[in-house]
Symmetry: C2
Subunit: 335 residues, 2 copies
């Protein structure tokens, strides 16, 4: 493709060629007024949408179009994962600045399709627009779930657990936002944390496995940090929680970056956001079985960090049960 | 509400209170990772998304937040109407500049809900973001249709028709973009055309009636002007068309504004865009029945303007069958 700015019909032709796939349940895709889809009728339909806006959610200095496309798809897959669902169909709204060439748009779709393909998602529609400032992306993802797991169903006595590790994405963002690489850290370690930020891997298989295993009472994905997101889950469930900050799973790479940058890795774990791990609440008697089963099925660790209690809000405790203050979550809207 | 800029959770609470409705098939709405919906299983699911971006699709100088919300919803309802479907559930992605207060966001939702309520649509989810420049809106609408009417199924010999009148929205935009009102036109007439641009009324009842009446072979909505949109329908159907420009239905108000501004109302009808009328292609023997039936059922006129022919592209003819040039459609993406 040339680098000329494509017109709307050229763009639809380009996108249509890029996203054309045979997909189960897709009757009519890009090119008509609407996508026409055939649901299975039995399971519930899930629908979620996420906006990604340049200089709010990413900077072009460190995010390539392929990264933007991949992340826009991944964060929506994460929302479907958090309900224990199967993602199926995506609609992609894309606004680009004047002068954006076809290559950049192709790269964006290549990134989005890489994640979509990995999760069995078909891109079935969308819209394009000019943008007076930067890139803006709005992906809507539809999925299905036999029995969706909600945020509102946690009960006092349940275990609070998380998949994977926390704070790695925040460590990556801290590295990306610097002008120079932090001294004394090797490239593989830096790639690990920046990759976690640029290309989050949504826990789709994990969410489905957990929802089907029995004993999970509530679930959500960690997009704005444990402090903010657990607060939301508790508010929906009208309950409180105690969390032991010393049990928060923090990767060695995250700790190494924190040390190099004189930052607190626990702040990144509670307040950093964008880990796209799952916050899993389960019956206390189910935890050991879920941890072992999830590791067997997916290789992903599940770590208990606290418990649901009567009341409201989260009490953060150190290993000796003393209250500690933690970094509040990440709020894009406040800039 | 105060004029302070709300945080993300405040905003979710506000939006949730605004959009809370009992809606058929809505199992879980705003406040979880995804909306959970129950489809009927039988009919096809329709999905469409549209971006509206400040200074590309509207200007804040003449579009209030309520207008933006209403139009963002209406243009999506129009896409569902164009398939002959019933709109059901919307997800609203909203980016606002720093300093946008709760009142403006409430007004935006009031506008969106006015249109949603009129069409039986529930707002079931969405996302919010800061925006470094202006307002940006991405509404995704889901609907259902027993037998969706596509763009790709027009056949040579079919009649090409349109609902309502063409060019009124372009007349309204021409008035809105001026610093002063055009001289010699009364306020009611100006309100008529500016209202057509700011608050388009999607042809939902008309689309459903036409899809169910039998004899309609293809349909789409007119968002970018007849020249562009008919070209798209013909390309999908691998056919051409002849259109008699003297048969294009143009309202008296549109003609009066064109005269006052020394503009060509036919250019507005073919190239102006944003009329959100339906482009209806039907069997020739069905046209008279469809016109009479649609007028009875909805009060909306259906006007034959040409016919589908073998070949490709559109030949525009005057009343004596001579070829004429018309204004090409409206392309937002080229700015």
């Amino acid at each position: 493709m040339s680098g000329d700015r494509p017109g709307e019909d050229d763009l639809v032709r380009l996108i249509r060629a890029l996203v054309r796939r045979r997909a189960p349940g897709l009757l009519t895709g890009v090119g008509d007024d609407c996508a026409v889809l055939e649901t299975r009728g039995g399971p519930s339909l899930l629908a979620t949408t996420d906006l990604l806006v340049e200089d709010v959610h990413f900077r072009r200095r460190w995010a390539e179009p392929a990264d933007i496309g991949a992340k826009a798809m991944a964060v929506n897959v994460s929302d479907i994962a958090a309900m224990g669902g199967t993602p199926r169909w995506a609609l992609v709204g894309l606004g680009c600045p004047e002068g954006t060439g076809a290559e950049a748009i192709e790269a964006f779709y290549a990134g989005a399709l890489e994640v979509a393909d990995a999760h069995g998602v078909a891109i079935v529609g969308g819209d394009t627009s000019a943008s007076p400032s930067g890139w803006l992306v709005c992906v809507t993802l539809l999925g299905e779930a036999a029995r969706p797991v909600l945020r509102s169903t946690a009960r006092p006595g349940d275990v609070v657990a998380v998949t994977g590790t926390l704070g790695r994405s925040a460590a990556g963002l801290a590295v990306l936002e610097r002008e120079t690489a932090p001294p004394g850290l090797d490239a593989a370690l830096l790639d690990d944390v920046t990759g976690a930020h640029l290309r989050p891997r949504p826990r789709a298989a994990e969410g489905r496995w957990l929802a089907g295993a029995g004993g999970v009472t509530a679930m959500m994905d960690l997009s704005d940090g444990l402090a903010t997101d657990l607060g939301r889950l508790l508010a929906e469930s009208r309950a409180g929680a105690r969390v032991d900050v010393e049990r928060l799973p923090i990767a060695a790479a995250t700790r190494a970056v924190a040390e190099a940058l004189d930052a607190d890795p626990v702040d990144w774990a509670t307040g950093g956001g964008e880990d796209y791990e799952l916050l899993v609440v389960c019956e206390p008697g189910a935890f050991a079985r879920l941890r072992a089963g999830l590791a067997d099925a997916t290789g992903t660790p599940l770590t208990a960090v606290g418990e649901v209690v009567d009341g409201s809000g989260t009490r953060w405790l150190d290993g000796r049960g003393r209250a500690v203050a933690v970094a509040p979550g990440f709020e894009h809207f406040r800039g």
